[in-house]
């Protein structure tokens, strides 16, 4: 019996095995789920999309690296969360957002959205949405200007007019304006399903294809990475409220940032509730505020603020939906 062999064995507390899931593994699945939409955007928009992605991802990771270095904290960029934040921010911005504006957004997302709170796990709000909100509030006019491109009414228009030559307000903005003016719509909402699902060059980068976002979201649900209750509550409520306002529920789910928000933004672990029940409530809340912003407020693109608002309520929802301890009857508490 050689003692040296015994020495090598590690003595540690149980459990002595762990699941294969890791933080970076989870983040990489999120990236993989978003990749089809990002790639499809690059294919259709070319360099503008690449530039936006490179700037937000680069600045997000760079900011986190620099923060850690200056604060003399262990480096955390390999956990993958900064990569996800950068990617999400790019997908939530119009492709023609000036590069410096995207850079500021990514810096704010990481610095004010995450690091000031103490880094990953300690932030109250979704960092990417903090960055997007900052950009949207600071340069609303600029964003509105660059957003006004890319609506073709049906998929057949794409071949007729190139991406660069199309211009006009997004169909969501037009729909909102139509509703405000007449209570009805000046164009066929159902005819919009196909371009919205497959190829849509208006709005933000991630709106390129609702179908690819749904696919990515489905993968994350099947892999057990996100809880279906959040997107289901979100999308379901969005649809129901749209219907209640006499509008087309499918159009309102597919148009704008709803799907990106429901599958990828609202499901951010850190800023969403923990319990199943809490997540359903939270998803419903996101959908409700998003829909109210669209139909009542003058803000068709209310996804960012709806989710940020619910982020703020998440701790309260957590407190309201604490699990019942085994063997404890409710009246005992």
């Amino acid at each position: 019996m050689s003692d040296s062999r015994v020495q090598q064995h590690i003595v540690g507390p149980s459990p002595h095995i762990t699941s294969k899931a890791t933080c970076s593994g989870i983040m990489l699945w999120v990236v993989a789920a978003l990749a089809p939409a990002a790639i499809w955007a690059i294919v259709n928009m070319g360099l503008v999309a690449v530039q936006l992605l490179v700037v937000t991802i680069g600045v997000a990771i760079g900011t986190e690296a620099a923060w850690n270095a200056i604060a003399r904290r262990p480096q955390t960029i390999l956990d993958g969360s900064a990569l996800v934040t950068g990617l999400l921010l790019a997908l939530a911005l119009p492709p023609r957002t000036p590069w410096w504006m995207a850079a500021v957004g990514a810096f704010i997302a990481i610095a004010l959205g995450k690091m000031v709170f103490g880094g990953l796990g300690h932030n109250l709000f979704n960092p990417a949405l903090v960055g997007r909100a900052f950009v949207a509030l600071s340069w609303a006019g600029v964003l509105a200007g660059v957003e006004n491109r890319g609506w073709f009414r049906t998929l057949a228009d794409v071949s007729a007019e190139g991406y660069d030559t199309i211009s006009g307000a997004t169909r969501l903005a037009v729909a909102t304006a139509d509703r405000a003016a007449s209570g009805g719509y000046g164009f066929d909402l159902v005819a919009q399903y196909e371009p919205l699902l497959l190829k849509n060059l208006e709005g933000s980068l991630g709106e390129i294809s609702a179908a690819l976002l749904i696919l990515g979201g489905a993968v994350l649900i099947i892999k057990g990475i996100i809880d279906w209750r959040i997107p289901a509550g979100y999308i379901g409520t969005m649809g129901i409220v749209s219907w209640a306002f006499g509008s087309d529920p499918v159009f309102h789910v597919l148009a704008g940032g709803v799907l990106l928000g429901a599958f990828f933004m609202a499901t951010d672990y850190v800023s969403s509730p923990m319990s199943k029940k809490g997540r359903l409530i939270y998803g419903i809340g996101c959908g409700l505020f998003n829909a109210l912003g669209r139909f009542v407020g003058p803000m068709p693109e209310s996804t960012t603020f709806a989710i940020l608002f619910m982020n703020g309520l998440a701790p309260l929802i957590d407190r309201m939906t604490r699990p019942r301890v085994f063997g404890v009857v409710k009246s005992d508490e």
Binding site: V6, G12, T18, S19, A21, I26, G121, Y269, V329
Partner: protein, 426 residues
Amino acid sequence: MGGVHPPGHKERTAASAVERAPVPERLVVPLSQHLGAPCAPLVGKGDRVERGQMIGDVDAMVSAPVHSPVSGVVTEVGVTLTAGGQRVAAVTIEPDAPQDLGSFVPVEDTGDARARVRAAGIVGMGGATFPSVVKLSPPKGMAIDTVILNGCECEPFLTCDHRLMLEEPEHVVAGARHIRDIVGASRVIIGLEDNKPDAAAALRKVAGSDIEVTELPTMYPQGAEKQLIYALLRKEVPHGKLPAATGALVHNVATAAAIADALEHGRPLMERIVTVTGAVARPGNYRVLFGTLVSDLIEHAGGFVGDVERVIAGGPMTGQALGTLEVPIAKGSSGIVALEKGVAARAISDDQPCIRCGRCPEVCPMGLEPYILATYSGRRMWDAVAARSVIDCIECGACSYVCPTKRPLLQLIRVGKSAAMSKGAK
């Protein structure tokens, strides 16, 4: 109700029939192989002992006497390290050269079944090592109507209970009937996970109509006492009460078999089935004499293969990592599992954040919020952990298992739990 599904790794030994491990050159028999008061030695250096002879006992309610597993000569009464890392008194015995394992000194039959179970030194063999006689004597006013035998073996890697149920089902069933008769219960259920259909079939063949054999979904910790009672009876053990408050009494299947042996043949507890598995050359289920050193057993199993990082006594979810292999197999040693690098958990450090993924509260079988308990424990907020029911934690480790950032949740929670308990929080 929570729970996790770690890879079973049971295929390595599930088909290996129980084989007797050789009698080693010397046995180091600890005098404390149970939960409760340690025994005092009844023999001295140079004494001859017979197989089955009582060599240690103590006059205490919660305790279990210790018997010599072999005939031989006592060479030392000293101390040994146990698998659990404690130093306890131990009797070292040099066995006679040809060893007759077929005979033993029987435990006297006084007509009192409980006394005989105690005299046979029987303890919970699932790992808890709680003296069985205490469990067979429920407090006054607590009627037991159902006896549950625990054959879940929900720990990954282990197959000792599986083989026992498969190879000696009549033993297990006989033990169940004895326990039922002792406590005056009317119903007997043997619960096991549905990954052992052959064992369930073997039990059913001998069970008769008075004993139910129920298969449960394979899930860790299905075999935890409260979880098993709930799974079988849909009754929750009330917070702060004994499991007996549900009218159910749970014994491990190996304990039941040992009780049958003691009551029918006067056989004291001297050996048990141990699953030796993981990164060893000849994994298997071995019948091992108490006092056999882990190093001897590993050698018999062909030694380690590959880069073994941790050696576990018991199962990998709740067992003890061994710092040295020179510790004896005892009544609670269900397995010796050699974990290779990559299979074993990383050495734990508390530098990873909780990313609030929600996994740990989802898997906690007790409905606790492990992430909060761990954080509060780390900040030494003892009242806060107590208020969040830390003492209900059954230390199953499901939370630590599932955490993607590998936070040492259970390790932190244990600290909070012992602090809360020592402060007498309820």
